[in-house]
Structure formats: structure tokens, C-alpha cells
């Protein structure tokens, strides 16, 4: 995965959430580095990775935040969701409890994330057929009721991993590009289209990382 990520048309922040041990970090490593680790440790705080994909000839860079599922490893939760436009809500198809907790995670998204955030329900570990505890149909029906898209993946054998990310990023892209057509940015005639306002923080901005001069 040594693609040059330097240039892109869109940057989307996507968060991976779900109970501890459902395979979020392995989904991320499979997608961004094509790696899988059977004995990976619990994530502490947040891990980040990026990967760019092509949609409609545009380069979309996904900045993926892999959060800790375990309560004691979670730092300030609100920070995780700030600016996120997509969320992969992962459960383990072989552990029914992780599926039951999906409701709790949805509540957390409602409390902290943008109301338009695109959510995809991901049933991971689909390779564990003989241990299946959550029926595909049941999860699919749940996803439909809650307006989520749905997919089953296996980070272990790579099934649907790229597809999951591809789908959610495409969905976000469609929404964002349509929005841009509907409301022209800033309504400011002077500014060219499709350019974000450059947010240069004032010198006093309390926490901006500032280069120090003359020292």
C-alpha cells in the first residue's frame, strides 16, 4: 500500500467503533496495509491510518480513526467524533453481546457526531461460520430499520473489507458532492468554488501548533 497519498480531492474522516475485540484494528490494518494479526493487543486511545481510493475519477483520502472499544482505554470521547463524516460500527458475528451493544454505540454517535454522519453496520469475523451467533438477516433488518448500510466482513480472509470502506466512502462522496451542487460554498462570489476557507488561527490561538521564530 505504498500509494502516494499526497494529492487528493476530498479528505473524509471515518471512525471505527464497536465493542472491544470485534476486530476494528484488524479491519483497519487489512484495509490500509493489507496486514492481519491474530494476536493483536487492545487499542489504547486512538490509532490513525490513511488510505486513498478513487471514486468517479476523484481521489478520496480516508483518514480512519480506530478507537479503543475498551472503556478504560478511551480518552475524551467527543474528540473521536469531531469532524467525522462516516462511522463503521463493528460487531463480532460470533459474539451476540457485541451485536446487542450496537444500540449503545448508535446512541453515542447520536450524542456526539454530526447528524448526517454515514453509518455502516459491519458484522466482522464472517469466517467463523461454525460459531455464528448473529444471523445475517437479523442484522440486515436491524440496519434497515435504523437507516444504516450493512455488510459482513472478514479481516482474516479479507472478505469484503475493501468493499466496506469503498462503499462508505462512496456514499459520503455522493452526499458531499451533491451538497456542493445544491449550496454553493460560502455564497461568496469572490471565493472560487470548492475551496475550503483557510483557517489560519490567530497568533494567540491557544493550542495551535505554532512555529516559533527567532529563538
Amino acid at each position: 500500500m505504498s500509494s502516494k497519498d499526497d494529492e487528493y480531492d476530498y479528505l473524509f474522516k471515518v471512525v471505527l467503533i464497536g465493542d472491544s475485540g470485534v476486530g476494528k484494528s484488524n479491519l483497519l490494518s487489512r484495509f490500509t496495509r493489507n496486514e492481519f494479526n491474530l494476536e493483536s493487543k487492545s487499542t489504547i486511545g486512538v490509532e490513525f491510518a490513511t488510505r486513498s481510493i478513487q471514486v468517479d475519477g476523484k481521489t478520496i483520502k480516508a483518514q480512519i480513526w480506530d478507537t479503543a472499544g475498551q472503556e478504560r482505554y478511551r480518552a475524551i470521547t467527543a474528540a473521536y467524533y469531531r469532524g467525522a463524516v462516516g462511522a463503521l460500527l463493528v460487531y463480532d458475528i460470533a459474539k451476540h453481546l457485541t451485536y446487542e451493544n450496537v444500540e449503545r454505540w448508535l446512541r453515542e454517535l447520536r450524542d456526539h457526531a454530526d447528524q448526517n454522519i454515514v453509518i455502516m453496520l459491519v458484522g466482522n469475523k464472517s469466517d467463523l461460520r461454525h460459531l455464528r451467533a448473529v444471523l445475517t438477516e437479523e442484522a440486515k433488518a436491524f440496519a434497515e430499520r435504523n437507516g444504516l448500510s450493512f455488510i459482513e466482513t472478514s479481516a482474516l480472509d479479507s472478505t469484503n473489507v475493501d468493499m466496506a470502506f469503498q462503499n462508505i466512502l462512496t456514499e459520503i462522496y455522493r452526499i458531499v458532492s451533491q451538497k456542493q451542487i445544491r449550496d454553493p460554498p460560502e455564497g461568496d462570489v469572490i471565493r472560487p468554488q470548492n475551496v475550503e476557507p483557510i483557517d489560519v488561527k490567530p497568533t494567540m490561538n491557544s493550542d495551535g501548533v505554532r512555529k516559533q521564530c527567532c529563538q
Binding site: 489504547i44 486511545g45 480518552a75 463524516v85 449550496d183 455564497g187 483557517d199 491557544s206 501548533v209
Partner: protein, 825 residues
Amino acid sequence: MVGRIELQECLRDSPKFRGLLEAEEASVDQLESKLEKILKVCGSMVDSGKTYVGQQSLFANSLWDLSTHFKEDPMVLSSLNKLIHSLQEMNKFHTILLDQASRTILKNLTSFIKNDIKGVRDYKQHFEKISTEYDNILLRNSHTPRSKPQEVEEIQNVLVAVRSCFGHNTLDYINSISVLQSKKRHEILSTLLSYMHACTTYYHQGSDLCADLETFFKTLADEIGTMRGETYKVQKELENTHSVVSNFEPISIKKEKNGPTMEGYLFKRTSNAFKTWNRRWFYLYDNKLVYRKRSGEEHETIMEDDLRICTVKPVLDGERRFCFEVLSPLKSHMLQADTKEMYDCWITALQKGIGAAIQRIQSIDFDRLKLGDNNITYSNDITGRGQSRQLYSDNNNRTKKRMWEQLLKIPGNNYCCDCRSANPRWASINLGITLCIECSGVHRSLGVHYSKVRSLTLDDWEPEIIKVMVELGNAVVNKIYEATMPDDVVRPSEQCPGAIRETFIKAKYVDKKYVKSLPQFNKTSPSSIRNSRPSSLMDVRKWSVRKIRRRPRSCDKRDRKHVKVEEVTKKIEKIAEIGETSSSSGREEDTNSESSKRSSLKKRNSILLFGSDLDKQPIDGPIDLSSDQESTGGEEENETVGEEDISKLQPDLLLYKAAAAHNLPVMCEALALGGDKCWINPEDRSRSPLHAAVFSGSVMPCAYLILNGVKINAQDQDGKTPLHIATQEGHTAQVCLFLKHRADQHLEDDEGKVPLSIAEQKEHADIVTLLRLGRLNDEMKDSEIGVTGDDTFNEVVRDFSRLACSHPEKLQRPKIEEDRSDRSD
């Protein structure tokens, strides 16, 4: 005939007697079964009665519970209580009735069955036994042959005896039956009568109670009528309020002294990729444009914190109607009103607000000049604006007043540190002083390695710089930089020529002419020192620095001392007085006349203690200046750092030790004395003062050293940078500070570890997140185009750092707290 059966018949044991007996026995059996039925039914009646009474008492309790609902309404409350009380009284009567029922009916009838009927049964048994025996004897008698006269005589004797016995037993039996039949008549009636008496009492009590309550009921009924009337009236009145809806102006402008304040809902467009429009409650307050959610979150968000640098612009070419844009030099916010009227009002209000903001700052300055003292509070600012006062109490923990007003309260800070002109508007953040505009100009010309100048009114202030300012202040700093200033030095004044100002400031800060050098021990000959110092000083063998935090913690507020500036600024304490070592408390103070100018004596074990006389400043109010935050919680007030031999007393080590004690005034003195901020302590793993500051657990010595240009990435003998150590110690706020100042997190220590791997090992989620965020930010920065990513990063880091500075307890994990308490022990 007394008995029920004729005696003759009994004794003859005739068929008629047997027939009558059977009839009597049947009657007794019937009586018994009927009485038992009564007992059963009565028992269950009493039981269900008790259940009822129990439920009724629960009912009364639930009514009591209801009455607490009316605790604000004494009228309803008293009536309700009286009604409940009556109900409970009635309940009590009912309980008594049930008790009586079980006492009379159950007890009497049971005893009737147990004693009387059972007695009859006993006689019956005897009768049947003797009857059988009698029959046997008669049979034997009939068998006895004539030929045996002896047997005949014998059996005839027996027969006579048994017959007589039979006769007696029969009579006993018959009599018991007769007595029973006679007794049942009055027993049953009297039982019922006493139960009816109980009932009568019950109803009497009830009727008496009700008679007593009658007047109360009447008045209550009247009151209820009145209340009903009131409700009707209220209902009528409220029906009329609907007319307000059509006349309602959804715009509220409060015309007040300090300019228009506007509040209401607007849609705002989010800055993320979705451009979602959210409806938020916006208001103008304290030169700021602020909004909050309708519900859910208490706090508000500051959209623009200085309206003076903003403009408002209508947006006419968008898809949406009634849009306008608030532009500051660096940001733009798209807002949308509900109607044309609202839109006009908001634009007008914002424009006026901007104008008023500019004017108000000036007028407050004017007030301040007129009053000319440091007791100006923000009350000036707040009176006449009820809205903002409420906000202030709502958001007690947030910075709601301009920083300069707070900073000017630090002792000495309301006059320029150099020329003493009033109302300084500038500051030197690395020196921790306030300056007038002229002096600040000279400071600027010195270069940032001497003085970093910032505006108190125009710049924003990071929390850690404010902390540094609060620890120092003009009074403290001048006691160091003007300690030995002769009276004849020409001090600049407000209107003096530039050259005088320049000469003075250069002498003060660059040449450090008036800084008092450290006392010399064991280096010069005793005789030369005797002239200037008390001889006892020669016996001082050790020195140390007191840990200090001059800002009040919230827990200190109650007993905070209002100390005069002069007292605060006594600088060094010299300890002497040998032979007094026995006084264990060592806390008494004594003024030594010979060193009275700047020192006081403490009877302690010959230890020179730096910074022990700095008392808490009388700073009130501003929450962000007080701190119960800092990771140094749990520290004793008078703790010191490890003592050093007096021969090692030199500025470099003094700076090092003062950093370890997070004692900024002593650090300032050490720097003034030429202490090298990049010095490494060969006796402490080659650590720099910044390492020592990290170990103190506090952010402020780190911030102070960084402001004064230390090397942030200095490695100690183990290859550890301050960032390594802050990570290892779990000091989140320090990690945040270092990352903000671009500390290199890729440096490895001698074990080949970078800070991130230490944080992972320590399982410190916040520090791991911060370090990884830092890496992500670097990665995003490398790619030229992406600006959107940085936005998120900065916001998240700001959240973190704000939280780490103001509410570090939220970042503390149980495990880390343990670590902390271990260390502070």
C-alpha cells in the same frame, strides 16, 4: 322434665331412648359443623379485613407521599394532611373492629366447641363402652347354665353392678347433652351480641369523628369552590394568551446601556464536509458571538470571541434565503435566519454590536484611568446586563472576562513594571510582567531572547502562559530585577524621553545591574562577610527551595490571606541562629534587624530556604487563574525539594532546584542571576532544568522554561527527553504543552523507546491519543493540499489541552492516580 329424654326410658335402654339419643347426637353434630363453618368464614373475614386495613394504610401513606408534592402550597398541604389524618383515624377504628370480631366470635365459639361439645363426646365414649360391656354381661348371663349355681350367682352380681354402672353413665351422657342444648342458646346469642356491640362502637366512633370534622369539611368545600373558580379564571386568561402568538415578534433585542444584545435561533452551517445546517440559539455577549444547543448540553460555544475584528455580510446569491456571513480575518461563518425580519435584525444587531464593542473597550479604559487603582472588578462590565450576569453564573468554570482585567490584579501589575505608569496594556510573557506601550516598545527592541511582548487586550492567552503570569507579576519580578537599585538611578516616568526609558530597561534586563547576587558562603573569608551579614549565617550548610503555587486553589479560598504586596515580595530567607535547633517546629519567625531589608530569620536547622516567604496572592474570582488543577495536587504547602550543600549554591543549580519545586519566583531569580537554562546537572542523570520541571508534575515551570527558550528536546544521560519523562510520569498536560511546542516525539532513549511506546506500555490512553494525533498531524502537514485535516487536529488538541489544563481530573485514570499518590508520598 329437666332433661331432654325421659329418665325411665334411659334406664330401660328402650328403642325409643335409642331413637331419641340418635336424634340428639345428630343435632349436636349438626351444631358443631355449622359452628365450624362460622368459625372458618369469620376467620377469613377477619383476615381479608386485615388485608383491607393494611392496603388502606398503604393508601394513606401514598397520600402522605403526595402531600410532599404540595410542600410549597401550605393551604393545600394542611387540608390534605388533615384529610389523611382522618382517614388514618378511621382505619384505626376499623382495625379495632376486626380485633373485636376475632376476640368475640372466634374466641367464644372456639371455646364452645373445644370445651362443651368435646365434653359431650367424652361422655358418649364412656356410654358406648359401658353399653357394650352391659350387652356382654347380659349375653354371658343368658349362657350361664342352671347346673352351675355358683356361676349363676356370680354373674347375677356382676349384672347388677354393671347395670347400675350403665345407668349412671347413661344419665351422665344424657345430662351433658341436655346441658349443651340448653347452653348453646345463650352462648351463641351473647357472642353475637358482643360482636354487635363492637360494631356499634365502631360506627359511633366514626360518626363522632365525622361530626368533629364537619366544619372542616364545610370550609374545605368552600375553599375547593374558590380554587375551582381560580382555575377557571386562569384558564380563561390563558386562552387569551393565544392572541400573543399572532402578535409575537420572534425577535428580542434588549436595548441596554452597553449596547444592543440580541438573541434567538439561527441556522449555522457546519464546517465539515457535509455542510450540515444546525439550528442553534445565538446571542451576543461580552463582545462575543456565542451559541448553544437547545437542549442536551449546558455549555455554549464561542463562534467569534472578538466582534471588533468581525464584519457582517449579507449573502444574496446562495440557494438558501436570509443568509448572512460573519467574517473575521481568519474565519467565516454562514448563518441563516428564519425570516426577513429576523435577518435584518441580526445584521443590524451584529453591526451595532461590533460598534459597541469597540466603544465599550475604550470607555472601560477611561473608567479605569479615572479610578486609578487596582480594585477595578469586572462588575463594571457586568452591571446593566442581567443576561451576562446569569451567563457568568451558568458558566462559572469558563473564562468569561477579558484576560487583562484578571492579569492586572496580580500584585504590582496595574502599573507598568518599568515606568510605573498606570493601566498597562502590554506584557512580557517570559518575564511575567505588565508594561505600558512605550516600555513594551523598548522591550521589543531587546529581542525575544530578553523579552517576548504580547498585548493584554488584543492577543489571546494560552492557559499555561496565564499561569506563568500569575506566578510572577511586577511586584515579584521587580524585587529581583530592582533589588539593589540605588535611589539615584533615573527611573523612567510616563512622559519621559525615550532615551531614559531605553537606558533604564537595558540596564535592568540586559545588564541585570540591580540584581542582588547570591549570598556567599565558605568562599570568602569570615571577616569580610561579618560587616554585611550576621555572623550566624556562616553556619548555614544546606539550602533548598520551597515548593510553591501562588494561585489560590479552590480549596484555599476560605482562609486565603490578603497579604500586602510588601510582605509578598520579601525575597530570600536566611536561616541561622544555631543553638536553636532544638525548637522542633521551626516555624516561628523573627526579624533580624541586620538583614531586615529583605530577609527574615527562621529558627531552623541552618538551611537556607528559597521562596519560603512567598504567600498566596489576594486574587479573587477569576476561575481560570485559580487552580485546583495541576498535577501537583495532594502536595503539602510547605514542602521543599531535597537539600543541597551550601557550597553548591550557584544560579544553575538554583534554577534546577526551583524548577523541581515549581517555584517560578525563585526560577526567575536564578535566571536573573545568570542561571543557564540549558545547564545539565551532572549529579542527576545529566538532566536539564526542563527535566526537573517535568518531575515537579506542574505545567507552569515547563511553560516558563519554554517561554525562556530552553531546548525542548534535551536528552538526559539515559537519552530521555522531557517528553519521554512527562509520558512516563503520566503528565498529560505537560505532554500537550510539549507537543504544542513541537517537541520531537521520534527521539529514542537509550532503550530505543520513543514516548509513544512508553505511553502504550503505561496504557495511558490520553497520552497515546495525543502522541498519535501529533504524528497524524505531521503526516497531514507533509501533504501540501490538505487543510481540512489540520482543522480537526487543532480542535481536538485544543479540547485536550483545555481539559488537561482546567479539568485534569477528567483525564486521570484510577491507575494513574495511584501512581501519583505514590510519588507524592
